[in-house]
Amino acid sequence: MTQGGTTQPMEPSTAAPTSSGEPLVVVQDLVKYYPIFSGLFKRHIGDVRAVDGVSFVINKGEVFGLVGESGCGKSTLGRTLLRLLPQTSGSATISGEDIFAKRGKDLKQLRRRMQIIFQDPVGSLNPRMPVSDIIGEGLLAQADGTNQWKNRKTRDERVGEYLEVVGLRRDYARRYPHEFSGGQRQRIGIARALALSPDFVVCDEPVSALDVSIQSQILNLLLDLRREFGLTYLFIAHNLSVVQYISDRVGVMYLGKIAEMAPVERLYADPRHPYTVALLSAIPDADPRRRKRRLVLKGDVPSPANPPSGCRFHTRCWLRTQLGDPEICSTEEPALRDLGGEQFTACHFAERINPELIKVAAAGQSLVDTSDASDDAEPVSAAAPSA
């Protein structure tokens, strides 16, 4: 820890919001558009603005949670950071090194430091490769004078080690992905990511596709590995309860932008963005006798190809309705501003949120039993269950 608990004053969207700790990954104004082409001549007619100006810092050894509905740009953000997708604009550094400037050999070298774990345990493992190749391939690709990875024996030895690290047997190396259960496959994916000894790992919804009974095992494994190897995670989820369990700090994303960012306890105790409030109201309660009213957001998620003017959330915002539709919400985009205590929000009226108002907003809506244990659904009815 190099700094105290205080945060630096910042200019919204020109500097990454800071927080205490030693920064590992610094992302500034990251933008990733997917161009839309149409017609015979493939004319460029617009863009899907999947990530539209995102800034944050991830500190060494920390788990930074990233939540938001499917389609809000979480995977795009993670993959752009890892140079799996070309960025549109903005910058990102890891330990001060410019991620987007690397080419050729340097890029390959950089890849050792940043890895990814995927959501889909089936799609993330090549069905025609034995586990030894799946995990060992990165070693082969990264073989050079500083290691012995050109040598098959050395590679296999290391593959075996990492299989054990993720709780699998060494002799599974010769098997094929279809011979494993979902949880085991996810472990193989984790071993592949860790075999290169990275510092930073993007976990893109690593438990969303797993049985509930397996989810906590994988989450605990990830936490154990973080401790053992001193890893830093960008942990993506569409579900706040998973993020609460694993994260130190959380960013809430909506339509390609960060709506709110805060240390995990703070975000859950005192959310300062109406979207966060809605997401939180959908978390199932551990106590089945306690029912609470769920703040169901109205309408569909707008298209990221044509986001709403002003505040992107204004078409669905309950707070705006409660406040009598102030004009500024649809005309002026709220910057991500510092509320103190490492909490940032992009809402003009963040200070007006209070329990009374939330109750009133939820009162108009039907009583939903949020204690359903099998509820992995997203808080907002319009969203698809997975990304």
Partner: protein
């Protein structure tokens, strides 16, 4: 999600027991050994391979074992050719030519046309499709427009025109024409698979660890795209054997001075209506058997190359 967020018991690994341990015996086998094992368990594919192997044998050695001269016309006893008998197992045609010898000797050209046109189509189609699908963008655009143009040209037209230019009955030109006209089909198929597979998570995972383009294309994408391509190639070979008989039937295929199953059938055009079935039956059966055999082999290959298919 679990209602209990703070799950007890850090990282237990109960889910590991899901895999039984009785598969350990297989583990020392290489991928190719495994594929061969799976193929050998595929009964129809083995039968297909046996029949096709026999046809290839006939194609290579048939003319040596049962010599046949298409220009030797001894004449038949009956006007419509002689029925099958001990002297002529498959009967004779109107000119007294032995249908048995014709069928055996026809294998060479028919199998060659099918096999080599398939190889040409396969190599060209896989290469073009893979390049287009992997790189996308303008490369893809250019290559696919070429494919579109080739698709738009009617097959028969090319054959009719080229038989004028290159002389009718040239086996090599038939192989080239069939091959060059059928690769676009394979190219489209391969391209579509590449386009979707290059978005696969396992491809991103490989990229993330620093694997290069070439290895990604050959080790990750191609093996996963190959199944449908193998089936398409065997179908293509079968259809090109049939097509050869078809163009021969129209008298634009192999010349009368040579023999193929196709032109044997073509010669039988008129005979069938007089009830002289054997002229057409035996060469026709040879074609049908080969086509079916090749398709079985294709199915077997596809399954054998897929580690997910059961032992």
């Amino acid at each position: 999600m679990t209602t209990e967020h703070r799950a007890p018991g850090g990282g237990t690994i109960e889910d590991i027991v899901a895999v039984p341990d009785n598969e350990v015996a297989l583990e020392s086998l290489s991928q190719w050994q495994l594929a061969r094992r799976r193929f050998r368990k595929h009964r129809l594919a083995l039968i297909g391979l046996f029949i096709f192997g026999f046809m290839v044998f006939l194609a290579v050695f048939g003319p040596l074992i049962v010599p046949f001269n298409p220009m030797f016309l001894p004449g038949a006893i009956k006007a419509g050719g002689d029925q099958p008998s001990l002297a002529h197992l498959f009967g004779t045609d109107a000119n007294g030519r032995d249908v048995f010898a014709m069928t055996i000797n026809g294998a060479r050209i028919s199998v060659a046309v099918g096999l080599f046109s398939m190889i040409i189509a396969g190599v060209a189609g896989v290469t073009v499709g893979a390049v287009a699908g992997y790189f996308g963008g303008w490369v893809d655009n250019v290559l696919m427009r070429v494919v579109d143009v080739l698709f738009a040209i009617p097959f028969l037209f090319i054959i009719l025109v080229s038989s004028r230019f290159f002389g009718k009955g040239d086996v090599l030109s038939l192989v080239l024409i069939f091959g060059l006209l059928s690769w676009p089909l394979i190219a489209r198929l391969v391209r579509a698979s590449f386009l979707s597979l290059r978005e696969a998570d396992f491809v991103d995972a490989a990229r993330a660890v620093g694997v290069g383009d070439r290895r990604i294309a050959f080790r990750h994408i191609l093996p996963n795209a190959l199944g449908p391509v193998i089936v398409a190639m065997t179908l293509l070979m079968a259809s090109n054997i049939v097509l050869e008989s078809f163009v021969s039937f129209l008298n634009f295929g192999i010349s009368e001075t040579q023999i193929s199953w196709g032109n044997a059938l073509a010669n039988a055009q008129g005979a069938l209506s007089f009830g002289d079935w054997w002229w057409a039956f035996f060469p026709g059966m040879a074609i049908a058997l080969t086509v079916i055999a090749v398709n079985f082999v294709g199915d077997g290959l596809r399954d054998a190359l897929d580690p997910r298919s059961r032992e």
